[in-house]
């Protein structure tokens, strides 16, 4: 008999993506009887496509639980999915789940754990010969949260470099925005101005209204700072 797990996983994932986390959890509960990690059957022998489907299902469930504010359940589900993906040698799934766990850890203030998960996600992406752009950006955030600003700047510079080299305007703008925040945390106002002005231009070029408005707001706040009143780059930010 064909397993229903791949279909349920794909549908649930689509529901979370569409902003319907409660519907995704309901579907998983109805179709598999799973609402938390403790409900999982023994999956130690799962391999190949089935293991990938379970990892995807747990990813969707964890993501949905997190969106609904149940971080503890979300963490358990994501970790279970990560375990399955690792046992089945599914580096892409494992890397994505490690990244999601890191996001959750950072949100819950578990900074050391977030750094470790980011490092795992980066290694797994590299193993697949993929640029670890998102986990590197998150690692930069985690390092900055731990006040390790020098390392945070190195990580975010790598992300800026990677996005610029691959020509991904949205990621480039995002990386520059984060670089600006870290520079500001380090007290380097002028670098923050330059990174944000560039981020604003790229966001506008890429037609990204929300990031463009957000960065424009950040620059407007900086423009009110008397220290930066004479900064020529800030003055010409709308050119």
């Amino acid at each position: 008999m064909t397993s229903p797990i791949p279909t349920v996983a794909a549908t649930a994932f689509g529901l979370v993506r569409a902003g319907r986390p409660a519907a995704a959890l309901q579907l998983i509960r109805d179709e598999t009887g799973i609402s938390r990690a403790a409900d999982l059957p023994d999956l130690s022998g799962a391999a190949g496509q089935l293991a990938g489907a379970w990892a995807m299902l747990l990813h969707a469930a964890g993501w949905a639980a997190g969106d609904l504010g149940d971080d503890l359940a979300a963490w358990d589900l994501l970790v279970a999915g990560y375990g399955i993906a690792m046992r089945a040698d599914l580096a892409t799934s494992a890397g994505t789940l490690a990244y999601e766990i890191a996001v959750l850890d950072l949100r819950c203030g578990r900074i050391d754990e977030a750094q470790q998960e980011c490092a795992i996600a980066i290694r797994l992406r590299l193993q697949r010969e993929e640029d670890p752009l998102r986990p590197m950006l998150l690692l930069a955030g985690a390092l900055a949260a731990a006040s390790r600003l020098g390392e945070a700047l190195a990580a975010v510079s790598w992300a800026v470099e990677c996005a610029a080299a691959t020509g991904d305007l949205a990621a480039w703008s995002d990386a520059l925005e984060r670089h600006g925040h870290i520079a500001l945390a380090a007290g380097d106002y002028h670098t923050a101005v330059r990174q944000w002005v560039m981020a604003l231009r790229l966001a506008r070029m890429a037609g990204l209204r929300e990031p463009a408005a957000r960065v424009a707001g950040l620059l407007a706040e900086l423009a009110a700072n008397p220290v930066l009143a004479a900064d020529p780059v800030l003055a010409g930010r709308d050119q």
Binding site: A119, W158, E161, W172, R194, M198, V233, G236
Partner: protein, 190 residues
């Protein structure tokens, strides 16, 4: 060896001047292009010196020809002419003299990827083609920088940041820098 590529004072001063007043875009662009050109030429000659000082892998006449042309104005030709002219011979002689008198420092290809290029506002790795091109693009330059193998170089840096062992680089560092132009229009009007 220091990772920063040494710049002559006049070039360092020119960059510093633009950093102090970042409003003159054409001047900043010219200073940046001049600084990158100088530094990449320094690295290229250092790599050539390294090959000359090795027992095997001696550079052939074509390699010499390419190096010679980098220092000349005007149109470049890929293939050397059948006969060496006086200027080409003088270039080879002068370069060897500089190597012997340590005026030119040899650069091992293995350490080249770790060298740092001076741009406006600081240094970046020689492998950071994205950051170099980002600054050139921002200033409206028609120059472009290519470093290969770009992915492997980025991956090695990412691995270091994530505390993972850096993968061994299987290929030698190659780089190109120069003016690029958009492809001709299909309707033939441009």
């Amino acid at each position: 060896m220091r990772p920063e590529i040494p710049l002559p004072d006049w070039l360092e001063d020119r960059l510093a001047e633009q950093e102090a007043d970042p409003t003159d875009i054409p001047a900043a662009r010219a200073a940046l292009e001049a600084a990158i050109t100088w530094q990449l030429r320094y690295v290229a000659l250092g790599l050539l010196a390294n090959r000359l000082l090795q027992a095997g892998d001696r550079p052939g006449r074509t390699v010499w020809w390419h190096q010679y042309q980098l220092g000349r104005d005007g149109q470049c030709s890929f293939t050397p002419p059948p006969e060496d002219d006086d200027q080409f011979r003088a270039f080879r002689r002068d370069l060897k003299r500089q190597i012997v008198t340590r005026g030119l420092r040899r650069i091992d290809p293995a350490e080249a990827a770790g060298l740092r290029l001076r741009l406006l506002g600081g240094h970046v790795s020689l492998a950071s083609e994205g950051l170099v091109n980002a600054q050139l693009t921002t200033l409206g330059s028609s120059c472009y920088y290519v470093a290969e193998p770009a992915y492997e170089l980025r991956a090695a840096q990412a691995a270091r940041l994530a505390g993972a062992p850096a993968p061994a680089l299987g290929k030698r560092l190659l780089f190109f820098f120069g003016e690029v132009q958009p492809p001709p229009r299909r309707d033939g009007s441009g």
